[in-house]
């Protein structure tokens, strides 16, 4: 009897490993920046290139940093949700226009709506590297002290917004 049970047991263990393994998304690499201070940047604004925005300007507020580009297909997917969120005025959203032509970016926002309080231009992607960006879109939740508390890799979904991002934002805003 044991002769059959041992291979069967091994098979079940293997099956469990495969089941869990297949459920994981290899594209989601945990960021080492969670609970670390958000990298400091000072970048020109997309709509008013004469003005800049720095990480330090957002101190004292809970805010979202959304990395987007007009060439990014998945950004279109999350965009209606962001527009809605921007209208609700629950939390300031800063857009990081990543490796994009400013004109193309402006046109894109003109067509699809602009959910951002401010968008800043990261033309050559250096600030993106500081934030460990490797797949656009990405969204960071940053607290009042300027610490990154959460990172959404890939498009923001309604589920992620309801279950993760907004509860976290509310909690951070209270503290």
């Amino acid at each position: 009897m044991a002769k059959f049970l041992i291979p069967l047991g091994l098979f079940v263990v293997l099956l469990a490993f495969l089941f869990v393994g297949l459920g994981l998304n290899p594209r989601e690499v945990p960021s080492p920046l969670i609970d670390k201070p958000a990298p400091a940047f000072t970048l020109a604004q997309l709509h008013e290139p004469g003005k800049t925005l720095a990480t330090a300007d957002m101190k004292g507020r809970v805010w979202l940093l959304n990395v987007w580009a007009s060439w990014c297909v998945s950004c279109r997917e999350e965009h209606p949700l962001l527009v809605e969120l921007g209208r609700a005025k629950l939390v300031p959203i800063v857009g990081l226009n990543y490796k994009d032509e400013p004109l193309a970016g402006l046109r894109w926002l003109g067509q699809l709506g602009n959910p951002y309080d401010v968008s800043v231009v990261d033309r050559d992607g250096r600030v993106g590297i500081d934030f460990g960006v490797y797949g656009v879109p990405e969204t960071f939740v940053i607290d009042k002290q300027g610490t990154i508390r959460y990172k959404q890799i890939g498009p923001v979904t309604a589920e992620a917004l309801e279950k993760k991002i907004l509860p976290l934002v509310r909690e951070l805003q209270k503290s």
Binding site: P32, G128, I129, Y134, G135
Partner: protein, 163 residues
């Protein structure tokens, strides 16, 4: 006919070999003139994983991110950073995943120890099986009759022919 086919085949192979590897030619060439530094850049970029095409190093990959990260590596070398500083810079932003050779620590123990563990398990299984096998043939000595039959067989005098 065969000769024609052979010539055609030869022409195809020659044409394939002559094609320049256009895809990498543009930016794979290290920009610095300093051969020591460019060797360092190549070595470092071969240690780092591209997060977009995850099974390629940033030296191999042509993803935009890999191009940017190669530029970072070169700039930091030019700025006089040590290899360790550059690696730390990448790990600080992208985590251990960016390293092609993950460090040995708590979370990677199974990764590093796994193969040895499997090897030991395999050896253990073999030992147990072999021991079981040694014990298997019944150790009872042959009876006198069996021995006689065996000797007869060995001597080449099969019983059946006698009868």
């Amino acid at each position: 006919m065969i000769r024609f086919a052979a010539a055609l085949l030869f022409a195809i192979i020659a044409a394939t070999l002559a094609l320049p590897p256009a895809a990498f030619a543009a930016d794979a060439v290290p920009t610095e003139k300093d051969p020591v530094n460019s060797a360092r850049a190549v070595k470092l970029t071969e240690e780092l994983r591209c997060l977009v095409c995850q099974n390629q190093t940033i030296a191999d990959s042509n993803a935009e991110l890999a191009v940017d990260l190669r530029r970072q590596v070169r700039e930091q070398i030019d700025a006089g950073k040590t290899d360790k500083e550059i690696i730390d810079y990448m790990v600080g932003r992208y985590g251990d995943f960016v390293l092609y050779r993950p460090p040995v620590k708590g979370t990677t123990l199974l990764l590093w120890g796994g193969p040895a563990l499997l090897l030991l398990t395999g050896i253990g299984v073999i030992v147990v099986v072999l021991r079981g096998r040694q014990r298997m043939p019944d150790a009872t000595p042959l009876s006198a009759e069996e021995r006689a039959r065996a000797e007869a067989l060995l001597a080449g005098e099969p019983k059946k022919e006698q009868s």
